[in-house]
Symmetry: C2
Subunit: 279 residues, 2 copies
């Protein structure tokens, strides 16, 4: 089997069972789109990696080192999805306490492009709401860390390929995100996205949309809102670094009731900009 993964710079698809990433989910990661041998939005992803490592006290490898290791894999696999995992490294003695000297483990892998239909981005997607709620943990909120059981439980709730994504609420009932990306609502020409102070992952594309809004004088409110307020929006869109922007054309609730949207003027404008800038 061809190995398209590197662990600490060497071609390998194995990691020690004493790695704290495995033992405790003690690490962070990024998932990035690769096109024509380039990692899209690399600088922004690296900034997030640095930020998230710092938040957990993990030493973040140098940008040039990671870029070089990525590049060597991209020569064979110029299109697809790149993933970087940085863990706190090997556990030198048993127990949760991290030793300050621990050297991080860097794991880089490339996989094929996602298999979602192109029409998801064009015609929009059908979504639902998840029963699994996100816990409030301000110390971890915003970070893309390796403790992802909540997302797993939420993603396991449905098995209908027609439903592209599930909306996750927090324990208080606020809309927070999708199981694998951020969410925006458009209301009367304003864009809204949940405040992620208490839970959720603050993705690179979320930042880009917020930047787009500022540059285009479109008001952008970062605040909590309910599922009812989400569904009352003029437009809803989902966004992540792997699939880009998906407008929402249908929301189905637990009772089979649905809400539909057929026009996505602002979503499409943002989608176009996201795809052209840093393409």
């Amino acid at each position: 089997m061809q190995i398209n993964t590197k662990v600490n710079g060497s071609l390998s698809n194995q990691v020690s069972i004493h790695d704290r990433g495995l033992l405790y989910g003690d690490g962070v990661f990024r998932t990035m789109r690769v096109s024509a041998g380039r990692v899209l939005c690399w600088q922004l992803h690296y900034q997030k990696l640095q930020h998230d490592c710092a938040a957990l006290g993990i030493i973040c490898p140098e940008s040039t080192l990671l870029a070089q290791e990525l590049q060597s894999l991209l020569q064979q696999h110029p299109d697809g999805v790149a993933k970087i995992i940085i863990t706190r490294g090997l556990q030198s003695e048993r127990g949760y306490r991290p030793l300050s000297a621990s050297l991080p483990t860097r794991i880089i892998s490339i996989s094929p492009p996602p298999q979602f239909p192109d029409k998801f981005g064009v015609e929009g997607v059908k979504i639902r709401v998840c029963q699994t709620r996100l816990a409030h943990q301000p110390r971890l909120a915003g970070l893309k860390h390796l403790n992802r059981l909540e997302n797993i439980m939420a993603a396991a709730e449905w098995d209908d390929a027609q439903i592209a994504e599930g909306v996750m609420l927090d324990l208080a009932g606020n809309v927070i995100e999708g199981t694998r990306g951020n969410i925006f609502a458009v209301r009367a020409g304003q864009i809204h996205t949940p405040d992620l102070t208490h839970c959720g992952v603050a993705g690179v594309q979320r930042d880009r949309v917020i930047d787009w809004a500022a540059k285009n004088n479109v008001p952008c409110k970062i605040e909590l809102f309910s599922l009812t307020e989400l569904i009352a929006a003029d437009e809803i869109f989902l966004i992540n670094s792997v699939v880009g922007l998906w407008p929402v054309r249908e929301f189905v609730d637990q009772n089979g009731q649905n809400e539909t949207w057929s026009q996505f003027p602002i979503s499409k404008q943002i989608q176009k900009w996201l795809n052209s800038a840093d393409a």
Copy 2:
């Protein structure tokens, strides 16, 4: 280097970087004391493993298989700490959603006995309170899963070998547990331990103490209480499967204020029973 670890039955200290245990912390574990070639409380640990796997929809390997793999390692290492990790297994396609068919990965390792002073169990320990709070997540509460960043952040808060453990509170300020074990308070002849409906790990030794109380007609209340109530207790003790029972002889708060205990009659009675039964 001698390998004293098995992955899926083979001597190995490596797992795939596509294992969901590493990717998402998608798995559960047990840490157990080994003495004279025997895993203490094996049946109880296996029951917890089954329970926790079921809660996450992970297929739990058969007890006989795990016992056999443990036994083969214990011949070389009859005393120490055994750890079993069960992950959901390899990820067959990208994304959080687990495939129902995925075969779990079983990782078994043996490490030397813990290096804590014996006097911790005899004279009691000094403890503190952690700033890191436990989030409420009823779907994961009680389980010993691989998403342990909260414990890591809490354990990283102090670096004073004189302080043996930190008390973790939930976001509402209730006492929940230690960073690596359960906590009990003794008050007027009754024992109290926090309700773990919203967060925390329900350990094997906690169940054993609750059983002991029932068999000895000692009232045992499973309910939430505050740090103030904890400190007002006649006795406090910490418990886990690796070090057993530690009475608390001193609690220091953030301002350096302290509270001390010198008599641990009920703690010592329970400790004696725990050490003799299933020894």
